[in-house]
Amino acid sequence: MRVEVGEAMNARTESRYVKDKKIGEGTYAVVYQGTEISTQRMVAIKKIKMGHFKSGLDMSAIREVKALRELAHPNVIELIDVFSHKTNLNLVLEFLDTDLEMVIKDTDLIFKAADIKSWLLMTLRGLHHCHRNWLLHRDLKPNNLLIARDGQLKLADFGLARDYGEMTATMTSQVVTRWYRAPELLFGAKRYGYGIDIWSVGCIFAELMLRTPYLPGDTDMEQLDTIFRALGTPTEDEWPHLTSLPDYVQFKAYPKTPLRTLFTATTADALDLLEKMLVYNPVKRTSALEAIQHPYFQNLPRPTHPARLPKPAMNINEGSVAAKRRLDPG
């Protein structure tokens, strides 16, 4: 009897949406563009593939639903509904046009200081909302920062997100796309905090200014080497107990070079904030809240209004490119 009630509810949810067309496919999901029938609102329907998971549901689908059910914020993607169809799980998500990676790569667009400030502020707002609800995103990178038609930037792809702070739980260090992965994760830390997300935001901030990935490493070892070459090799003094991390390896001692040598045209307040986000000791690294309160956001120029931010020129039908890349396994 119970089962039938559940099935009826599910059927009712499912009947509220129509799938229009497939716009992208990744390893674990297919994304369709769809419409909510009652409001004609455009939605994205993410159909989780069940085939190759031997027991039960895919972990990242569970993580995504769990995380998004908790969060409601203008800078976090909205999970509108969940329903199942036969053996497939379907997530109904807010439909978003493009992502920050597309914006960065579009060489026709010119970024002003105020534009970068605006994107960074929206990212930090969304992230602060996650952190104050004890949730780590664990996969921040430009192509997981989606951009709505009205210019609002929204954190998306919570497939790796999980809660943090629990005393008993250890977590995996195999998270976050390599170029945006914090050094403590590369050294195999099993307990960590919000610092790992801040590191990613720091890398994204640098990428917005450079228009090219800031710390691109080909392997995990090379990633550490790239980080140390750019920011100097950390010492026990600036990062206490560094050597006790599980995968710690001694690296060549590179000198610390001031960020100014690479970011030649940036204002001092921007560099100060970047430096605070890329502090080696995760305990000393700035938090999302502190970052939002940093003078960089109060000083001129003011952040650009989201509606006036530069956007790649494209028509509605070309949304599929963004959707497709968004699904790449992180």
Binding site: K112, A113, M167, R191, S244, T261, R308
Partner: protein, 329 residues
């Protein structure tokens, strides 16, 4: 060590890397690669390291080099670089001009000969004989070469002087322009203040005053500036990555976003407790390696704060007055 050429900037590419110390342009944008006579280039730091104590062998080909013999690379192709060096040397001796010859024909023959010598040196044809011919020419024409060199120097000085003049003229113009902008700014501010005063004292309708003044404001200045966004900060701070940002007229934000609070949220802050720096917590022993946890960025504070927040969530929030449910009957 290396001469700076105003007209031809040093060659530099993002793929540059010093073959000796492997430092790359990506991480050291200021790296300078210099070329020695044997054309095995290396970065300035390496040169300082190897040659600061006097002549030393090139790390690649062992040819003895001196620090003073390095020059900045101008061309991507080192062959071109080598040709340039040879031509420079030749030009030092063969500096005759058209007016030193009786006819154009003779001058052309002379140029032809110079070109032949240069070609021989570049391609390594009869190097010995060519060198001798150069020496002979230099001996025979010593006086003429010296006087021509002096003339050349004089001309160069003149050119330098002219360029300097042009630069200072430009700077002067820029100063004038900036001054003009500043003056416009002052005028605009006084006009704005006048409107405010008028609004405060006059009993005409506000919209009328604003509309009338808007016309005069528009007329008085066509170039908006960034400084008006907030009166508290002085001067244009907008110049960042993008020159002329202060000439952009969508710089100022909407009025309502001035009061925009980036920390606003639909969620209530959980309060009512005070987080102590330390608690008696038997669970903390579950962390077997506390040093490792600290190094990873984990703080026991997270756990305590989270537990307290969980306990206090919704506890001290008064219900909305119009939604108090009626007691069950």
């Amino acid at each position: 060590m290396a001469t700076v050429d105003r007209f031809l900037p040093a060659y530099s590419s993002s793929e540059d890397a010093c073959p000796i110390c492997k430092s790359s342009r990506y991480l050291n944008p200021n790296m300078k690669l210099l070329v020695p006579p044997c054309f095995h280039k290396m970065c300035e730091a390496c040169i300082d390291r190897i040659f600061s104590l006097g002549p030393a062998p090139c790390p690649v080909c062992q040819q003895i080099l001196r620090k003073t013999n390095f020059w900045t690379q101008k061309f991507e192709d080192l062959q071109v670089e080598r040709e340039l060096q040879i031509r420079k040397r030749i030009a030092k001796f063969f500096n005759k001009r058209t007016e030193d010859f009786k006819s154009l024909r003779l001058y052309n023959d002379y140029l032809e000969e110079v070109e032949e010598l240069t070609f021989n040196l570049i391609n390594g044809v009869d190097v010995q004989e060519t060198e001798e011919r150069i020496q002979r020419f230099a001996q025979e024409n010593r006086d003429l070469i010296a006087s021509n060199a002096a003339r050349q120097q004089r001309e160069e000085r003149m050119l330098n002087h002219r360029l300097k003049q042009e630069r200072s003229d430009k700077e002067h113009q820029r100063q004038l322009y900036l001054q003009q902008l500043e003056e416009e700014e002052v005028v605009k501010r006084t006009q704005k203040n006048a409107i405010i005063n008028q609004l405060a004292s006059s009993n005409q309708s506000a919209s009328e005053i604003v509309a009338r003044n808007a016309i005069t404001l528009k007329k008085s200045s066509m170039a908006p500036s960034a400084a008006r966004a907030t009166p508290s900060s002085s001067g244009p701070t907008g110049d960042w990555m993008y020159n002329g940002a202060h000439l952009d007229d969508d710089e100022d934000m909407d009025i309502d976003s001035e009061e925009f609070d980036p920390l606003s949220s639909l969620y209530c802050d959980v309060g009512g407790f005070e987080l102590k720096p330390e608690y008696y917590d038997p669970m903390a022993s579950a962390i077997q390696n506390p040093q490792m946890a600290t190094a990873g960025g984990y703080l026991t504070r997270f756990s305590h704060q989270r537990s307290l927040e969980a306990a206090f969530t919704g506890l001290l929030i008064p219900p909305l007055s119009d939604s108090i449910p009626s007691p069950p009957s």
